[in-house]
Amino acid sequence: MPNVEAHITGTVWKIECELGQEVEEGDTLVILESMKMEMPVEAEDEGVVKEILCEEGQPVSEGDTLVVLE
């Protein structure tokens, strides 16, 4: 199962998923703040949220794993 990664460098603004939650492709899991905008990070596949590896307010780099699905 692919990890859900930050697609841009920025700050974690909001976490929009919970552990154990079933998600569909295209669901917003995390919202990053970057370039003065809210940037939703979406699930690219369906799955269940197994781990959340970030917290709100945390700076992240492009490619960092934010959420692990299974």
């Binding site: 697609h7 841009i8 370039m35 003065k36 905008m37 809210e38 940037m39």
Partner: protein, 492 residues
Amino acid sequence: MTQTAPAIDRAQASEPLSPLERLELLCDPGSVRLLRTHVESLRLGDRARPGDGVVGASGRVEGRQVFAYAQDQSFAGGSLGPAHADTIVEVLRLAGRARAPVVGFVSSGGARLQEGVAALDGYGRVFRETVRLSGRVPQISVVCGVAAGGAAYSPALTDFVVMDRDAAMFLTGPGVVREAIGEEVTAAELGGAAVHERSGVCELVAGSQAEAVLTARRLLSYLPQSAWDEPPQRFAPASPPQPGEGDLRAIVPREQRRVYDVREVVRALADDGSTLEIAPRFARNMVTALARIGGRPVGFVANQPRHLGGTIDCLAARKAARFVRLCDAYGLPLVVLVDSPGFMPGTAQEGAGVIREGAKLLHAFAEATVPKLTVVLRKAFGGAYITMSSKSLGADFVAAWPDAQIGVMGGAQAASVIHRREIAAADDPVRERERLAAAYARERLGARLAAREGVVDTLVEPAETRAFLESGLDALAGRAEGRSGRSGNLPL
């Protein structure tokens, strides 16, 4: 002519189709005429079979002439030898003579080993003829099954690549990959539809082979017979969509930091049900779509704030550049929706050559002679403002929504540069910066100011946007200077 009921029944079935069934489903009932059915390979001896693994045909789609071929993966893996290649070349030659589109159903393991260099020569001739027609007549490839080696390049040279979910394309198959570099990989992981809808190699993915065939028909409905003909005009819908103030306003938030899905704006502006997004999963920060406005086919290019905030990066620029050149080649007016904070900054993009990729988009818009209409929805800053079909690049009509911001950079960034010392010296630097940013935005970024400068022709309310597009398209109907079929659709 409309699609007949039996064809729709077959389209709903998801099993693979034979090459002949693909041609029959593509074309109007009873219109398919086969070509070169008796040719055989002279090198295969007893194994040779009439047709040599490919069916060439002429036919009609919605009453319009097309040429098509379909490879037969059940004979020698669909491999290409010289006789097989000659059939494809002949189909392409006839399409050029008739100035009619080509649809190729590609299923082939590549060059036929038993035919040696003559097979490679065959591919070379197919490529050359494909390029000769590029930008002159629309060429659509539908990959069914596997397209390996030369069979992968052959679609890549055409205007559109459609794959079904079970199709795969690669230059070297899993066996050779394993031997050459020791990588264990399946055909689907290597070059399945899920790979190529994201790599940009494939423009459209269909759920089944039958659906892929119907996708090719749908693509043809937006395209002219050739670069010298007008795109097919449909009757304007009896009741064109009239998005009220609320509709577009509800989609596009006023607050610049909030994002939305610009595809909803495209759908609201286009005739109902006429939108076909091209390459929806590749470079999602740039939306490209075929659609109709008042029955007339157009190409939409739009920044997508929902992905990367609508910033332009290497892939987004390349995706849009290719689409703009396609629209220009086939006389489709360009409708550009702008909402971008700029080009993506940083080492990753510069290292990936964003200057060259961005230049491709600048070049494509500046070069295009089809009618060009631009609407700035919320913001257009810096290089992104110029690149997204600005007045200066030759846009015919440019509109902006009244509270759009247009300028060199956003207020906060500009204030930090201009008022660096004042901000540093202030008791509350954060608040001082916000105050100066708001003042800069008011004085330097307003759409009204851009209209005074003449770089925006008119300010339109969201609800008037569709009427702005209709009247602009009417004013310039059929105008495209020097469309001569001489600029090929290079696979950027």
